[in-house]
């Protein structure tokens, strides 16, 4: 009986000792500065050699760890090495890991406010996964949020050119072309979407509305420029838009989508359209 009691007491004592020492070690680790575990994570190219054909599962493990690590807001300087972990480690281990590209880019752009670093990672992903429209699509959105509309249009164009990209990508591309002022290109894209039998009904409705509005804007721009030329040559605004056609300032008078002439204020020389008002000066 006594040996058994002694044994239990000994077990209890060593268990308690292990518990206390573990708590003390955790406190020590919390007090230490820096994040040494990140410092020693080598490049994925080297880890791939060590993985002996299991690089994918190693990439998964580091990716899962990185998610927990970078979402811990209590960690000091947690944003250090984020480009290394996602760009040099995870995506080198598994170059086809699409999730790692976009999540790493999202952390860099949203948390670190470093658009260029995020785009570098996405561009690396695009180069290695040319069949994945999602990566240029996300890069485009990040550029859009960063008010880099021309770059966004370029990425949307890239995404739209990838087989399997949904119609929404083409819609975004057309919208972005409008945003950067390439109205003719935007109009051609919207017309293409409206006429494509593969487009869904909602996309066709949106495309037709945009075609109408863009056509109106382009017509108003042409008419307004003709009015201005008329004023410079005649020293007055035309009394009506028909004078522009008669004076060969325009080859033919364009009509609004309702079949009527565009609105014209002879006193101020302003041409306007209801559709143009809806679209605004985007």
């Amino acid at each position: 009986m006594l040996p058994r009691v002694l044994f239990l007491a000994l077990m209890l004592a060593v268990g308690t000792l292990a518990g206390f020492s573990r708590v003390a070690l955790d406190r020590l680790a919390q007090g230490s500065s820096g994040d040494p575990e990140l410092l020693y994570l080598p490049n994925g190219k080297h880890l791939k050699i060590l993985s002996l054909g299991h690089a994918n599962v190693l990439a998964d493990g580091i990716y899962l760890w990185a998610i927990q690590y970078y979402s811990n807001y209590e960690r000091k300087q947690r944003q250090r090495y984020v480009e290394h972990i996602f760009g040099n480690v995870i995506t080198e281990l598994d170059p086809r890991y699409v999730d790692a590209y976009w999540l790493g880019a999202l952390i860099m752009i949203v948390e670190n406010h470093d658009l260029e670093a995020g785009l570098r990672l996405l561009e690396k992903g695009i180069a290695r996964n040319p069949d994945q429209w999602m990566l240029p699509y996300l890069a485009a959105w990040e550029c859009y949020h960063g008010k880099q509309y021309a770059r966004a249009a370029g990425f949307f164009e890239q995404a739209a050119g990838i087989p399997g990209a949904p119609v929404v990508v083409r819609r975004m591309r057309a919208g972005m072309m409008t945003k950067v002022g390439s109205l003719r290109e935007a109009l051609a894209l919207w017309q293409e979407i409206a006429a494509d039998p593969a487009s869904d009904s909602l996309s066709i409705v949106i495309a037709k509305r945009n075609v109408k509005e863009l056509q109106a804007r382009l017509d108003v721009e042409i008419l307004q420029a003709a009015v201005e030329r008329f004023r410079k040559e005649n020293g007055r605004f035309p009394a009506r838009l028909g004078e522009l056609e008669q004076g060969r300032y325009i080859p033919a008078l364009p009509l609004a989508s309702n079949g009527r002439p565009y609105r014209y204020d002879a006193e101020t020389g302003t041409v306007s359209s209801k559709a143009g008002r809806i679209l605004g000066k985007q």
């Binding site: 050699i49 002996l52 299991h54 994918n56 599962v57 998964d60 899962l64 998610i67 086809r96 699409v98």
Partner: protein, 260 residues
């Protein structure tokens, strides 16, 4: 006593090896660990952001491969040694059974065991994916080549088991597994050499060592990439012919082995 045909002798030894191996506790331990890991992959996938199925497939395929190799090594290296240690091999070889029948029977028996555990692990992985509404069929080429890789590893385990004690045989088989996944580095080494005998030696090593990376399609099937035409068939032909070559060596070694 009539001499049994090769098929009868090999078949009888294979069946006996299979029965013996499935009684091995280490096999059950490995199987439980592997099935546990495949189950846990579902929990791990919940921690991810993005494609959960990728994590399940990656862990599942790696578990099948790693635990298969562990089973091939630990069970394989002890099969011949046990027979010698227990002296049952003397009784067996006293009958009209040829020594190569014995080695081949052991090999086939172990392959049956490995086929069974790979089948169970694959069924668990496929079941998990089917429960999530994901079709697992695209994984089959990778699983087939994992099995071929295990055939090669088993042949080496048996060869080393005929040569030395189980611990050394296990270490040597693991070394072959590691080298088999790093043979590509010999090509890098060749690039650094100026030519002559050294290049010839590196080339010889490159083709003499098994290239197990050629049997690794895990990344391709998980990402749904198109497989090179003929890559699976060629992989199967390469792996099986290589394994037969190693098995032949094992038979040769066992033929010349002296039992004192």
């Amino acid at each position: 006593m009539s001499i049994p045909s090769a098929t009868t002798a090999v078949g009888a030894i294979a069946l006996n090896t299979f029965r013996e191996a499935i009684r091995d506790r280490i096999l059950y331990l490995l199987l439980v660990f592997a099935l546990g890991l495949i189950g846990v992959s579902r929990l791990l996938s919940m921690l991810t952001v993005g494609n959960e199925e990728k994590i399940i497939k990656d862990i599942g395929l790696s578990a099948i491969s790693l635990f298969g190799v562990l089973a091939a090594v630990f069970v394989g290296v002890s099969l011949v040694f046990k027979e010698i240690e227990r002296r049952t091999v003397y009784t067996l070889l006293a009958t009209p059974v040829r020594r190569w029948h014995f080695v081949t029977g052991k090999f086939v028996g172990l392959l049956l065991v490995l086929g069974m555990i790979v089948g169970l692990m694959s069924a668990a992985l496929c079941g998990l994916l089917l429960l999530r509404g994901e079709a697992p069929w695209a994984l089959f080429p990778a699983i087939a080549l994992i099995l071929v890789e295990l055939v090669v590893v088993t042949a080496f385990a048996l060869l080393f088991s005929s040569l030395t004690n189980p611990i050394l045989a296990a270490l040597m088989t693991f070394a072959i597994y590691v080298m088999g996944h790093l043979t590509w580095s010999l090509q890098l080494l060749k690039g650094q050499l100026e030519g002559g005998l050294a290049v010839g030696l590196v080339d010889f090593l490159y083709y003499a060592m098994p290239n197990l990376e050629r049997l690794n399609l895990k990344a391709e099937v998980v990402h749904g990439l198109p497989l090179e035409p003929g890559s699976v068939t060629l992989g199967v032909v390469y792996g099986l012919s290589y394994a037969v070559l190693v098995l032949g060596l094992a038979c040769l070694v066992f033929e010349r082995k002296e039992f004192n």
